[in-house]
Amino acid sequence: MNRCLVIARMVWLDLLRRKDLYVLLILLGGLLLALLSLNVFGLGGMVRYVKDAGLLLAWLFSWILAISVASRQLPQEETRRTIYSLLAKPLTRGELLFGKWLGAWSVVCAATSLFYLLIMLVVAARGGRFEPLTLAQTGLLHALGLGMLTALALALSTRATQSAAAALAYVGALASYLIVPQVPVFLAAETGLRANGLLILYYALPHLELFDLRQRAVHDWGPVPGALVAGLVLYSLVWIALLLLLGWLGFRRKRFTRGAAR
């Protein structure tokens, strides 16, 4: 486990050196300030749209960060040829993969916490507040969704280049978030092979939409039952384990050729 933590620490240091996070934070701050400065028919005192747009931006930026960080970890080691020195150490490929995932997930979660903190400050400056338990659940499920996303991008990057892995992860994540929840509605108008195909997609792809509690936090609907949160934690852990297993299967016998350009 210690070896995994060392790898995870390297991921943290890499992100802090690259400045992606600072750019996203400044962008989020700028956009939130712009939201506050908007003139809404001369009205004041509205705060829900700031929560809504702020959380949407936090979701968007955390997805961008999760996919870009996770998809570049292994291809980058290969391009820099540091993969050889890493694999020469007393470290299994499984530990390397898990350490990379742990680092990518934890650093993205930390960045997302900063996004949330910034949003809370802006909302408070506007005179509003989030219901604490609902916001905690929103953050927890958001983090679990990011865990699945980083595992997906990392698994894809074991067999694809960084850009290909990132592109495939975006497609998979967007399909899971936008299309999969609509399948039961589509099925009302489909029969036969097409209906079966849609059903397979419905069960085979992860349900990222279940990890989105933004509307509850924005419209003050209150927290969801603890049993549902526990179910979703279990569901996400199963998916993360499955994706990391697939990644490990793709990575464990992968041959690296010196001088191969990525």
Partner: protein, 288 residues
Amino acid sequence: MNRSAATGSLPSATLALPGLAALALWLAAFALACYTLEHPALQSRGSNSFWAFLLGSGRSALGQTLYEHADVYFHGGVANSSRPAFRHLFQRWAEVIAPNRHRHEEGISIFETMPWYRWATQLDPQNVDAWLDATYAASAIGQRPEFAARILAEGLRHNPRNYRLYLERGRLALRRSDWSPAAYALDVALRVFPENRPADDVEARQALLSLLNLGSFAHEILGERDQAAARLRQLLSLAPDNAVARTRLTELERGADTRAAALAYLQQTLTGEHRCARETDDEHDHHP
């Protein structure tokens, strides 16, 4: 010693200052851009507006999306979803996360919808539905008719020949018991009402009936009996089964003082006019 410390701190200061200056400049430029986008000079020219230049015809689609988001806010955050073909564990979870009950925002919380109407109308000032819904939300639910009148005035600046906006202006004036402005707005609406509407345009037919009905009330209350009778005759030519209109016309032609009765009818008409498009009998909950 001091000198070396000073020289030692110089590189980090020289690195940090330009970075901070760049950040400050970026924020200033961003704030200025936000301010200028709000400027009336960039907002009021329809197809020549900043948004039209930036997004082209895509601005209508984006405006429509924002308008639909305003509708979600109007319904307390509940999206308008279609009925699924089957129910499964994931859907039951999704229903707990996002309940699909029907409710409306009430009181001042309705003003939380306004930013979305604002953006929808900024992106597409020709989205008359957005202007009308914003007006309805502000006047009928938010109880701020003067604010609703401002929204409507802005909508009319962008759509000066739209009968629906004049109809709403007339309706708003009737709610405020401003009979003369109401009669004027409804007369203008009648003048700009397009003549060659297809026979199967149910919405336009309904709007014309409303125009004639409300116009007749306004003129009747003002004591302009001939104009009121003329509108009722036109209304009966379109809807001969309207028993209330027939009774009112008979009373007017008889020469009776019908103003008190007109006021009572008008109250009934105004309270019963709005019906939510999402309403179904089995899942309606106006009082969450």
